[in-house]
C-alpha cells in the first residue's frame, strides 16, 4: 500500500484540527471581552442591604444603590447624592438638596420622598438610625429635590450616622415602604451599576451592568466618595466555593479577581508574574474575645482582667493570620484607625502575654476549677483556630477550659443563652468587629442586657458613650474616645486578639481598584481592565 503526499497532508490537517479543537472551543467561551470583569466573590444570599449587614449584601448595595453621603479614604463623610446641605443655627434642622439628574434604573427620577422613605426604613434597624428616629420630630420632603430632618434635640454626629452602620441604600419609595425585616423583591436602585436579573443565578453567578444613565459627581473617586464612574460594561460575580479552583481559574485567566484568597496561596500568587495581591479594605477587622458578664467566673472583673493579661496577640495572629504583613497587634478599642485610636490605659499590654499574672488574677477572682465553655465555630477557620489556642492557654494556667464546637449557626443559637453553662450557656466567644463608632458598633456597647452578646455593663462608660452623638468636632470625639477607652480597660468589656487586613488577588490587567477605609468590601466603579 502506498501513501500519497495528499493523504499525508489531509491526515495531518485532520489531526491538527482535532487536537486544536478544545483550544478553539475554549477561546469561544472565555471572558475575552475587555470590558467585562469576572470576580470570584462569596455567595450573595440576601439582596437587601437594609435587611442584612452581611458583606456581600453590602457590596451588592454599593453597586446598585446610591447613598446620600459616602466616606472618603480618610473616613470623612462627603456628600454623594446630596448636592448641598445645611443645618439651622439651633442645630435641630438639617436640610438636604439632591443633585440634578438622579434616576432609578427603571427610569423614574429619584425624589426627596424616596430619600425620606429610605431613611425611615433604615432607621427601623440601624443602631444610629434608631437614634435619629428617636430624636426626630419630623423627616419630610420640602419639594421634589429637598428634604429635611427636624430634631427635638441636636445630634452632633447625624451626618456620620448616615454613612456608618448598615448601608443606607436609597430605594424607590414603594420599595422602602416595606418593613425593614422583610426583603425587598426588586433590585432597582440609582447606583452606577444595574443588577441584571435575567442572568442572576443564586449560588453560581450574578451580573452587574454599567448604568449608562448614572450621573457621577465631578470630583475624583476617593474611598466610597467622589465620582462613581463605571469603567467596565459588566462585572460578573462568580461563586467558586473551592478556593483551589478559584485560584486555578485566576491563573488560567478565566477570572480576573479573587476577593479573599487563602493565606497559604499568597506566596504562589506573588510568584506569578500576572497576578498581584492588594489590600483594598484598609480598615481591616479586629478579632476579639467576649466574656459572658452574666455568669461566673466572668461576672467578676478580676477574671476578666485575667483574660486581658493572658492573651498573647502575636500568637493569636500567627495562628489565625499567618502572614505578618497582613496582621498586627492592637491595643485601642478604636482599632488602629487613625481618627480615634489612642493609648489610654493600655499598660496591660505585654508582648507574649503574662500568664502568671493571669493565673494570679483568676485566683483573686475566686476561680475554683469550674468549667469554662468556649464557643468554637468550626466553619470559620480563623476563629476556630483561635478558640483552640485560647483553650490551650487557659489549660496551661490550670483553667478548666472546654471547647463547644459547632458550625456558625450553632454558635449563633447558643450565644443567645444567658443561662449557666450547665443549661446550654457559654463563657467565651470569639468574633470580630471593624467599626470604630461606639454608637453603632455592637462590640463597643456596655449597656447590660441591651448590649451585644456577653452583655457587658458599665454605667460610667455608657454615660460617656451617650455623649458621642452629641459632640460635633473631631477633637472633642478624640478626647471622648480616650476617656471611654480608659474605663473600658478597667472593666474589660472585651479583649482584643489582633488586627488583620485581607488582601485580594487580581490579575495585573485590572487597575483602578479603590482602596477604602472600612472592611466591608469595596466599590466596583473606577476599576478597569487592560486587554492583552
Amino acid at each position: 500500500m502506498t501513501i500519497t503526499r495528499r493523504q499525508i497532508l489531509k491526515t495531518g490537517l485532520a489531526a491538527g484540527t482535532a487536537l486544536s479543537m478544545p483550544t478553539i472551543l475554549r477561546a469561544q467561551t472565555s471572558p475575552d471581552d475587555a470590558r467585562t470583569v469576572r470576580m470570584v466573590m462569596a455567595d450573595l444570599t440576601v439582596f437587601d442591604p437594609i435587611l442584612s449587614g452581611v458583606d456581600t449584601t453590602r457590596m451588592h448595595g454599593y453597586a446598585v444603590y446610591d447613598t446620600l453621603f459616602a466616606i472618603d479614604s480618610k473616613g470623612i463623610p462627603q456628600p454623594q447624592m446630596v448636592k448641598k446641605w445645611s443645618v439651622s443655627d439651633d442645630k435641630k434642622t438639617y436640610t438636604f438638596q439632591l443633585r440634578e439628574g438622579l434616576t432609578f434604573h427603571d427610569g423614574s427620577p429619584v425624589t426627596a420622598a424616596d430619600c425620606v422613605a429610605s431613611i425611615r426604613r433604615w432607621g427601623q434597624v440601624d443602631t444610629g438610625g434608631k437614634l435619629i428616629m428617636a430624636r426626630a420630630k419630623d423627616i419630610s420632603k420640602a419639594d421634589d429635590r429637598t428634604f429635611m430632618i427636624s430634631l427635638k434635640e441636636p445630634l452632633g454626629t447625624l451626618i456620620n450616622m448616615l454613612v456608618e452602620g448598615l448601608f443606607l441604600a436609597v430605594m424607590r419609595e414603594k420599595d422602602a415602604s416595606r418593613p425593614a425585616t422583610e426583603q425587598v423583591t426588586s433590585n432597582i436602585g440609582s447606583g452606577p451599576f444595574k443588577f441584571n436579573e435575567a442572568l442572576a443565578k443564586p449560588g453560581a453567578s450574578f451580573t452587574y451592568d454599567r448604568n449608562e444613565q448614572y450621573v457621577p459627581r465631578q470630583e475624583a473617586a476617593d474611598g466610597f466618595a467622589g465620582g462613581k464612574v463605571a469603567k467596565v460594561d459588566r462585572a460578573v460575580w462568580q461563586v467558586i466555593s473551592d478556593q483551589q479552583t478559584a485560584f486555578a481559574a485566576l491563573q488560567a485567566g478565566e477570572v480576573d479577581f479573587v476577593w479573599t484568597p487563602p493565606a497559604d496561596l499568597f506566596p504562589v500568587i506573588e510568584s506569578d508574574p500576572n497576578l498581584e495581591l492588594q489590600v483594598l479594605c484598609k480598615g481591616g477587622t479586629i478579632m476579639y474575645l467576649r466574656m459572658n458578664f452574666l455568669q461566673p467566673p466572668f461576672d467578676n472583673v478580676k477574671a476578666r482582667q485575667a483574660m486581658l493579661h493572658l492573651v498573647d496577640q502575636e500568637a493569636f495572629m500567627r495562628v489565625a493570620y499567618p502572614d505578618p504583613r497582613f496582621s498586627q497587634t492592637v491595643t485601642s478599642i478604636f482599632g488602629n484607625n487613625p481618627l480615634y485610636s489612642n493609648d489610654e490605659n493600655t499598660g496591660w499590654y505585654k508582648k507574649g502575654g503574662d500568664p502568671e499574672k493571669a493565673k494570679q488574677l483568676f485566683q483573686e477572682a475566686g476561680y475554683a476549677g469550674e468549667k469554662i465553655v468556649i464557643l468554637q465555630p468550626t466553619d470559620w477557620a480563623e476563629v476556630s483556630d483561635a478558640s483552640q489556642l485560647l483553650a490551650d492557654m487557659l489549660r496551661n494556667i490550670g483553667v478548666n477550659a472546654e471547647l463547644a464546637p459547632s458550625d456558625w449557626g450553632g454558635v449563633e443559637r447558643r450565644r443567645k443563652s444567658k443561662g449557666p453553662v450547665e443549661d446550654g450557656g457559654w463563657n467565651i466567644l470569639i468574633s470580630d468587629y471593624s467599626g470604630y463608632n461606639p454608637t453603632n458598633t455592637p462590640f463597643l456597647l456596655a449597656n447590660g442586657e441591651d448590649a451585644f452578646y456577653g452583655w457587658p455593663k458599665n454605667d460610667e462608660y455608657e454615660a460617656l458613650r451617650s455623649k458621642w452623638t452629641e459632640v460635633e468636632t473631631l477633637e472633642e470625639r478624640q478626647a471622648l474616645a480616650r476617656e471611654m477607652q480608659g474605663i473600658w480597660w478597667d472593666f474589660v468589656g472585651g479583649v482584643l486578639l489582633g488586627h488583620s487586613v485581607q488582601p485580594t488577588a487580581h490579575r495585573k490587567s485590572i487597575s483602578g481598584l479603590l482602596e477604602v477605609p472600612g472592611s466591608y468590601g469595596f466599590p466596583m466603579w473606577n476599576m478597569q481592565k487592560v486587554s492583552g
Binding site: R26, Q28, A180, P202, D242, A248, A252, R413
Partner: protein, 313 residues
C-alpha cells in the same frame, strides 16, 4: 404489570412523604437560625427576632409543617428564605448541569466499564485482566477531588486545552457545553468505570462457566458471538442493577465534582442551602432526589423484563 407499576408509584409517594417528615423535623431541631444568618454576625437580637417573625419561623412546628404540606400539595415548593426566589426556579436552574454531568458520566462509565469488564473476563488471569484490575483498584480508591485537581493542572493550567471550571448551558452552544464537561466527566467516571468493570467481569465469568457456553463453543461459535450474543445478555441483570444504582446515587452525589469544577448543580445548591439553613430548598431538593431515586429503581426493575424474559411482574 400495570398493577405492579401502580403499587410502586404508591410506595414512591409513601417514601417521599417519610423523607419529607424526617427532613422537616431534622432541620427544625438543628441548632441554628436562618434569621441570624440573614441579618449577619453583628445584628442585634431584636432585628433577628423581627426577621424570624416575618419569615413565620416563630410559629409552632405543627403549624409550619401543615403550611408546608398544604403548599406542597398545591404544587408550591415555597420561596427561598434567603434569596426570596421561588425554589422551583432555583432547582430548575441547577437541574441541567447536574443531569448533563450525570448522563455524560453514565455514558462514559457504562461504555468503558462494560467493555473493560468483558475484556477482563475474556482474558481472565492474563496481563489485560491484571492491568484492568489495577486500573479498577486505582479508579475506585483515588478520591474524585485528587483526580480533578490532577486533570485541571495538566489539561487546563499547563496546556490550556480545556477550561478550569464553570458550566455553559446547552443553549449556549453544544461545543462550549461539552468542553466544560470533559474534565468533570472524566474525573467522576473513573470510580464508576472501575465499579461497573468489576461487576461486569464477575458476572461474565459466571456466565462463561455455564454449560450452554461450552455447548456454544463446541458448536463453533465465534468469540464475538459467545461474548456478546450469549454471555453479555445473560450477565446483563446484575450489570443493569449497578448501572441503575450508580445513576440514582450520582444525581445526589456529585457535589464533590461540582465543587472542584465549579459546576452550579443540585449538589452544590443543597450544600449551600444546608449551610444557610434555607429550609424550603433543602426540603424540596431532598424530596426531589428521593423521588428520582425511587423512579430510577423502578425503571431498572422494569428493564429487567427486556433482558430476561423469565422475569415477569
Amino acid at each position: 404489570m400495570a398493577a405492579y407499576i401502580l403499587r410502586r408509584m404508591v410506595s414512591t409517594i409513601a417514601v417521599m412523604a417519610m423523607v419529607g417528615i424526617f427532613v422537616f423535623l431534622l432541620l427544625r431541631l438543628a441548632p441554628s437560625d436562618p434569621a441570624a444568618m440573614i441579618a449577619g454576625r453583628d445584628a442585634p437580637a431584636e432585628v433577628i427576632a423581627g426577621i424570624r417573625e416575618q419569615l413565620g419561623l416563630n410559629d409552632s412546628l405543627p403549624v409550619q409543617f401543615m403550611r408546608w404540606v398544604r403548599d406542597m400539595l398545591g404544587g408550591d415548593f415555597g420561596i427561598s428564605i434567603f434569596t426570596g426566589r421561588p425554589v422551583v426556579q432555583l432547582i430548575s436552574q441547577r437541574l441541567e448541569p447536574t443531569l448533563s454531568l450525570s448522563i455524560l458520566t453514565m455514558i462514559l462509565s457504562v461504555s468503558v466499564g462494560v467493555s473493560f469488564g468483558i475484556l477482563a473476563a475474556w482474558r481472565t488471569g492474563g496481563l489485560i485482566d491484571r492491568l484492568l484490575a489495577a486500573f479498577s483498584a486505582l479508579g475506585y480508591s483515588v478520591p474524585v477531588f485528587v483526580i480533578g485537581y490532577f486533570l485541571v493542572y495538566f489539561f487546563a493550567i499547563r496546556t490550556h486545552w480545556l477550561p478550569v471550571q464553570g458550566y455553559v448551558p446547552i443553549g449556549g452552544g453544544l461545543g462550549p457545553w461539552f468542553v466544560h464537561l470533559v474534565l468533570p466527566t472524566v474525573a467522576l467516571s473513573l470510580g464508576y468505570i472501575a465499579f461497573i468493570a468489576r461487576v461486569t467481569r464477575a458476572s461474565m465469568l459466571e456466565v462463561l462457566s455455564e454449560d450452554y457456553m461450552r455447548t456454544a463453543a463446541a458448536k463453533g461459535a465465534s468469540s464475538y458471538a459467545m461474548l456478546f450474543h450469549h454471555a453479555l445478555k445473560n450477565a446483563g441483570v446484575p450489570i443493569l442493577t449497578v448501572v441503575g444504582i450508580s445513576f440514582a446515587y450520582m444525581i445526589g452525589g456529585v457535589v464533590l465534582t461540582e465543587t472542584v469544577f465549579n459546576i452550579p448543580g443540585i449538589g452544590r445548591l443543597v450544600v449551600d442551602a444546608i449551610n444557610n439553613r434555607d429550609y424550603p430548598i433543602i426540603q424540596s431538593v431532598l424530596i426531589l432526589t428521593s423521588g428520582l431515586y425511587v423512579l430510577i429503581n423502578l425503571t431498572v426493575d422494569l428493564a429487567y423484563t427486556l433482558i430476561d424474559p423469565r422475569i415477569r411482574y
